[in-house]
């Protein structure tokens, strides 16, 4: 078992490090398709980050060292959190999930505190807004996922008690909503809504510090999705290597779903928006009817 863990986890951590950048590119392409435009290539996020690393950074802040330290620790704890989520998906040991949640809390707080240590009032205002949202949402996220982890036993599904099933469903719904908000998407995209609010948390950063900030944000998006996917798959499928593979297969689908919700909540092209919306509704209804028919005749 121990050897299996090493063989499975080492390449997975490398995969986790690159997957958010690729999925963000897919998300941007999907958003463009839903808004009836061509959009950037799937590799655009990689180009953006590489470009930021290549440009000459402006080091005006006296606190630059602390900024680097807090961002690096945010990324390292993020990857460690992903390691424990994977262990949980493999073994179903609840302690692993609690470790993952604790590490995720450190990732979020170190990332959120970064704009507050920069001597720029606009950065500070943006940072305070992020802290307020974090305090409200992070508490809900950690509580709901802890409860979900405790309840996510296969026996729950066999329970004849409707109350139990309703309770699990409600906790799962809360966890999914909190994970959507924690993924910083519309209308909770404080970091990305900078062009509209003009006092964003990234306002003072340039070059590689900005690249680290954006990467840390993308990594958090990956963690919050896996935090809800792992107990869901455990509940419906069980905890095993196959269960972990199911989690990884469901990851792009969840990412795409969150992106679609963000587009629906955001703006679109006024002239073609109703048509695009109609296409989405028709696709969703057709999928539901197909699933129902397959279930009826199977």
């Amino acid at each position: 078992m121990e050897q299996l863990l090493v063989y499975t986890l080492t390449p997975l951590i490398v995969l986790y490090a690159i997957i958010p950048v690729i999925l963000d590119g897919v998300e941007r392409k999907l958003k463009a398709a839903l808004q009836s435009r061509i959009g950037p290539p799937v590799t655009q996020t990689i180009y953006d980050l590489l470009k930021l690393v290549l440009v000459k950074e402006i080091k005006t802040q006296p606190t630059i060292l602390y900024v680097y330290l807090s961002l690096t620790s945010s990324i390292v704890t993020g990857l460690a959190s992903l390691y424990y989520i994977t262990l949980y998906a493999l073994r179903g040991d609840q302690v692993d999930m609690f470790y993952a949640l604790a590490l995720f809390a450190i990732t979020t707080s170190t990332h959120t505190v970064t704009p507050l240590i920069v001597p720029n009032p606009y950065s500070f205002i943006g940072g305070i807004r992020e802290v307020v949202l974090g305090v409200v949402n992070e508490a809900a996220l950690i509580t709901s996922i802890s409860l979900y982890t405790i309840m996510a036993q296969r026996s729950v599904l066999k329970s004849t008690q409707w109350v139990t099933i309703i309770a699990v469903a409600l906790v799962a719904l809360t966890a999914f909503i909190a994970s959507y908000v924690a993924s910083s998407r519309v209308p909770f995209d404080i970091a990305e809504a900078e062009p509209e609010v003009a006092s964003g948390i990234f306002v003072e950063f340039s070059g590689s510090v900005l690249a680290l900030n954006i990467y840390s944000l993308l990594l958090r998006r990956l963690i919050v999705k896996l935090l809800v996917l792992a107990p869901t798959v455990g509940l419906l499928y069980g905890f095993s290597l196959t269960g972990l593979l199911v989690v990884l297969l469901l990851l792009p689908a969840t990412w795409v779903t969150y992106a679609t919700v963000a587009v629906i909540l955001g703006r679109s092209r006024v002239d073609v928006a109703p048509l695009t919306l109609a296409k989405i509704y028709i696709a969703l209804i057709l999928i539901s009817i197909t699933v129902l028919l397959v279930q009826a005749y199977a």
Partner: protein
Amino acid sequence: MSIKSSILKRSIWVFHLNTGSCNACDIEILDALTPFHDAERFGVKLVVSPRHADAMLLTGPVTAEALPKVINAIEAMPRPRMIIALGSCGCGGGIWHDTYSTIGGVNKLLEILKERGIVVDAVYYVPGCPIRPEALLYAVALIKGIVSKKREMKIYKAE
């Protein structure tokens, strides 16, 4: 083309700076960024801070009042930095080219920047009053090397 310049050209983040324009050019910039013209397909993204920007979209003839802020904003951009001068005003001052309250467009601005030792790596001119969104996209395509220059710049001076 080196790998570095090829990567830099694939991601062009723009910062919009109005230096005293009548606002018509600014509205056309927003038009170029809407889903209809879809500037993002060329890797263009509007950013709020000059710290994030690779190119500055400069509209207006640069009023004397705006000049110190314009210099600050350009200095705040990381290098390599570009200026895309937009409209008749941005390119040469337009109808305000010789009024007392403006410096008369990007060329005068470049002279002032040079005096202060602030380097601008490239300047692109997009004429029009106001500019068309397609013209702005042409400038982006020019930066990326997809299209070639339409005209050589000529400066006509009154006798």
